[in-house]
Symmetry: C2
Subunit: 155 residues, 2 copies
C-alpha cells in the first residue's frame, strides 16, 4: 500500500506497487525468493530492520496473499511461506537485479543468478507469443486492454 493516491492509476505497475512498493517490501521478498528465508529472525538478521516494521510488512504480505503464515515443522516458530502469487515476483526481482548489476554495481555484481542445472548465468528475454521472436526493447507498444475502461487518471 504505497499510497492511496495511486488509486487513480489504472495500471498494473501501480497496482503492483500498492502490494510490494512500500519501503523494504522488495528486500523482504528478495530474501524469501532467493535465500529461502521463512522465519521472522531470518529476515531480521538479513535486513537489520526494526521489528515493528518487519511485522507490518509480513502481516501485509499475508493479508494480500503473497505469503502464508504457518507453524514451522517441529518447532514453536511460525514461518512465512511464499504463495504462488509471491513466488511469481521472481522475474521482476531478476530484472531489478540485472539492472542494478549493470548500473549500480561498480565493484561487479554482489550476487550472480545462475541456472542451477548447469551453472550458467541467466538473462531475461522479451519474446513475442505470436511470432516467437525475441523482441527488441524498441519494438514494444502498448494498447488499451480489457481492464482499460476505468479512466487512467483523475486529472
Amino acid at each position: 500500500m504505497l499510497g492511496r493516491t495511486y488509486e487513480s492509476q489504472n495500471c498494473s505497475v501501480a497496482r503492483s506497487l500498492e502490494l510490494i512498493g512500500e519501503r523494504w517490501s522488495l528486500l523482504i521478498l528478495r530474501d524469501a525468493i532467493f535465500a529461502g528465508a521463512t522465519r521472522f529472525g531470518d529476515f531480521q538478521r538479513s535486513l537489520g530492520l526494526a521489528s515493528n516494521i518487519l511485522t507490518t510488512r509480513l502481516d501485509r504480505f499475508v493479508e494480500t496473499g503473497l505469503m502464508e503464515r504457518r507453524a514451522a515443522p517441529e518447532s514453536s516458530y511460525e514461518e512465512y511461506v511464499l504463495t504462488e502469487k509471491g513466488r511469481d515476483l521472481k522475474p521482476a526481482l531478476i530484472a531489478l537485479t540485472h539492472w542494478g548489476d549493470r548500473w549500480a554495481a561498480p565493484a561487479g555484481p554482489p550476487w550472480l543468478l545462475e541456472h542451477s542445472g548447469c551453472g550458467g548465468l541467466l538473462e531475461q528475454l522479451t519474446a513475442c507469443t505470436r511470432c516467437g521472436t525475441v523482441v527488441p526493447q524498441d519494438e514494444i507498444a502498448t494498447q488499451p486492454g480489457p481492464g482499460a475502461e476505468q479512466p487512467v487518471s483523475s486529472a
Copy 2:
C-alpha cells in the same frame, strides 16, 4: 534514495531501489518508457502529482543519470529524456506489469504490451546464457559475485 538504511545491503535489488524505489518514481518512469512522456506537464497530467514532488523526482533522475534535461525543440519547454540507463529499466517494468496483470487486475489488464512488429502479446523468459535453455523459476540459484566482498548485512 529510498532510505540510507539500505546502505548495509550489498545487493543489486537494494541498489536499484535506492535509485528508483521512492514513491511515484516507477510510475514516472513508466510514463517515460511506455508513453514517451518527456515534459513536466505530461507527467503531471498523467499522475496528478504535486509539482514539488514531481520536481524532486525528475531532478533526482537527472542527478543519477536516468534522464537528461534539455531544451525541447522549437519551444521554451524543457524536456526530460531517458538515457540508456533509464531505458534499460523497461524489462523490470514489463515484469511488474505482467505480475500486476496476473495478480492485481480483476477486470483484466488495463494495458497490453505488444510486439509492435506483429501485434502479438509479450512474454518474458529467463534463459541460460550457457546451455541456452529457458530456465524454470525453480532452477535459479544465487552465488556470490565479484562485488560480494562487502558484508551483506551489518547484523
